[in-house]
């Protein structure tokens, strides 16, 4: 390597592969990255600060905008936190609807990741395939919540709407179709030699590193550490369903890819079981007081979002507005390992690694 002059390159905030307004200042020697510094905050909206001045119910729409690809899980973690604080009982039917919608959302989110990650790697077509299936899921969620992206479907103590007639059957019909398509995805991409060369052995780290950087979700499970809040700290009614936690071995970009692909399968399994056990009767909203005023105290709950462990901390002083709301946003934590991974890699690997981490900038910047 000739020691040519180092070059400072601003990747982003306007760059096709930064998935939003994310900036990465990389110092390069030719195409080799010497140092990478992520610069976040371009999309910071101060959700947590705004929440301090809102009624408890008014905060729900703000949670949609954090991880806009899986708004359901964000809704849920917030509602779950308030419910824990108030000790509210959630009706069974509502829990089923929550689980089905969350898992559908997880599939939709992973599909976006699948498409965009391959787009980063230079394959254009898978993106459109992924969006075909995502479109169907968005239609389901649209029928359920009246919105395609920012659902605000969850309510404190239940959900907003009951499933429309025939909705569960439609979702059940979708399950075999999605399985078939998933097999097609594997045929199309997973066995591709160029794809394997691009992701195998790229952005490798160990389980220890992952824990030290407090990674979660597929970014943690790709190293072989089996940790999933749905299993390890079950919430909602996840303990009623049978599903596996897919883990990787090497902790490289390919394992992250495989873990997410298998997670789609497991989500399908959960939806299948949930649809079978779905109670026909029952209310969708628990006994919730007119004015939500949790008793003084604090709580922290965590659930598994498509991107990892999302947590919500609420401190209440017994008023109608929270004293402090704090979200543990998994994308933000997952991003922390990026500078370590990028050193010594090339520009092409940069997009592969960044795409493999699967960040959503709305969540990173809060």
């Amino acid at each position: 390597m000739i020691r040519t002059e180092e070059m400072l390159l601003n990747v982003g905030p306007q760059h096709p592969s930064t998935h939003g307004v994310f900036r990465l200042v990389v110092k390069m020697d030719g195409e080799r990255i010497i140092e990478a510094t992520p610069v976040v905050g371009y999309l910071h909206r101060g959700t947590e600060k705004i929440a301090e001045d809102l009624l408890y119910t008014q905060i729900i729409p703000y949670t949609d905008r954090m991880d806009y690809l899986s708004a359901m899980t964000n809704n849920y973690v917030y509602c779950h936190a308030v419910e824990t604080l108030m000790g509210l009982e959630v009706p069974e039917k509502a829990e089923f609807l929550r689980v089905i919608s969350m898992e559908l959302n997880r599939i939709a989110s992973h599909l976006v990741w699948w498409g965009t990650n391959l787009l980063d790697l230079g394959a254009f077509t898978p993106f459109l395939y992924a969006f075909r299936e995502r479109e169907m899921i968005l239609n389901f969620l649209n029928e359920l919540s009246g919105s395609r992206l920012n659902y605000s479907y969850m309510r404190i103590g239940g959900v907003k709407w009951d499933a429309p007639p025939g909705w569960i059957e439609k979702v059940q019909d979708f399950i075999p179709y999605m399985r078939k398509q998933l097999a097609g995805y594997h045929d199309f991409v997973t066995g591709n030699e160029i794809f394997l060369n691009r992701v195998q052995g790229i952005g490798k780290y160990t389980a220890e590193d992952a824990f030290n950087f407090s990674l979660s979700g597929a970014n943690l499970r790709c190293t072989g550490a089996s940790y999933d809040v749905r299993k390890d700290d079950p919430y909602s009614i996840y303990n009623r369903f049978e599903f596996k936690i897919p883990v990787g071995e090497n902790g490289d970009a390919f394992d992250r890819y495989m873990v997410r692909m298998k997670e789609i399968e497991e989500s399908i399994n959960i939806i299948e079981q949930a649809c079978e056990q779905f109670p026909k009767e029952g209310s969708i909203l628990g006994k919730v007081p007119k004015v939500i005023k949790p008793p003084a105290g604090e709580t922290f709950v965590r659930i598994e979002s498509p991107r990892g462990e999302i947590g919500c901390y609420i401190k209440s002083e017994g008023k109608t507005k929270p004293y402090r709301v704090k979200f543990r946003r998994p994308s933000f934590h997952n991003l922390q390992i990026l500078p370590k991974l990028l050193v010594g890699e090339s520009m092409s690997n940069l997009v592969a690694i960044l795409g493999g981490i699967d960040i959503v900038l709305g969540e990173v910047d809060g």
Binding site: M1, I2, T4, E5, G30
Partner: protein
């Protein structure tokens, strides 16, 4: 003037123009681009001399060669003030060099001017085939030697440019 005469004049003007631009321009990139003109004109000249194979070889070798030189020019001088190198050469030295080179040119002109051979059709048919046959019969030993030279140059260049051990460990 026949059409070949016109073609020759155009080619000659292009070649000289490229050369002059190479000397006068300041940036390495501009110089290399100017040289494309010259090398390409020389290739055209070969076509005029019915040496198609040599012409094509010229284009093939120099299009790659120029690209490499450009890359080196960029790699080693990027961001640096390129015209720094002009200032340091004194105009006296330039003048002296110019005068001596011009003298050489004029002297050789008088040597060359009386040359008046007649062009002959040296070979009717496929030049390329004939060149190949001669290369593999009369000139087989020089040909093999050149291939060995190229191989040695290749290996030598790789070794020279290879990373030092301690540097790789850094």
């Amino acid at each position: 003037m026949s059409s070949s005469g016109i073609v020759f004049s155009i080619i000659a003007i292009c070649a000289i123009l490229g050369g002059l631009m190479m000397i006068t321009l300041k940036k390495v990139m501009h110089m290399t681009v100017a040289m494309i003109l010259t090398y390409f004109s020389i290739a055209a000249l070969y076509v005029l001399l019915t040496a198609e194979f040599v012409a094509v070889a010229q284009v093939l070798v120099y299009s790659g060669g120029i690209t490499i030189l450009m890359v080196f020019g960029i790699m080693l001088t990027y961001h640096k003030a390129e015209n720094r190198d002009e200032e340091k050469v004194s105009s006296f030295r330039k003048l002296i060099t110019f005068l001596s080179v011009a003298t050489l040119g004029i002297v050789s002109y008088f040597l060359v001017a009386p040359v008046d051979f007649v062009a002959e059709e040296i070979f009717v048919g496929d030049h390329t085939k004939a060149i190949g046959e001669i290369l593999y019969t009369n000139y087989i030993i020089p040909f093999e030697l050149v291939s060995i030279l190229l191989l040695v140059a290749l290996i030598g260049a790789v070794l020279l440019a290879k990373k030092d051990k301690e540097e790789a460990n850094e």
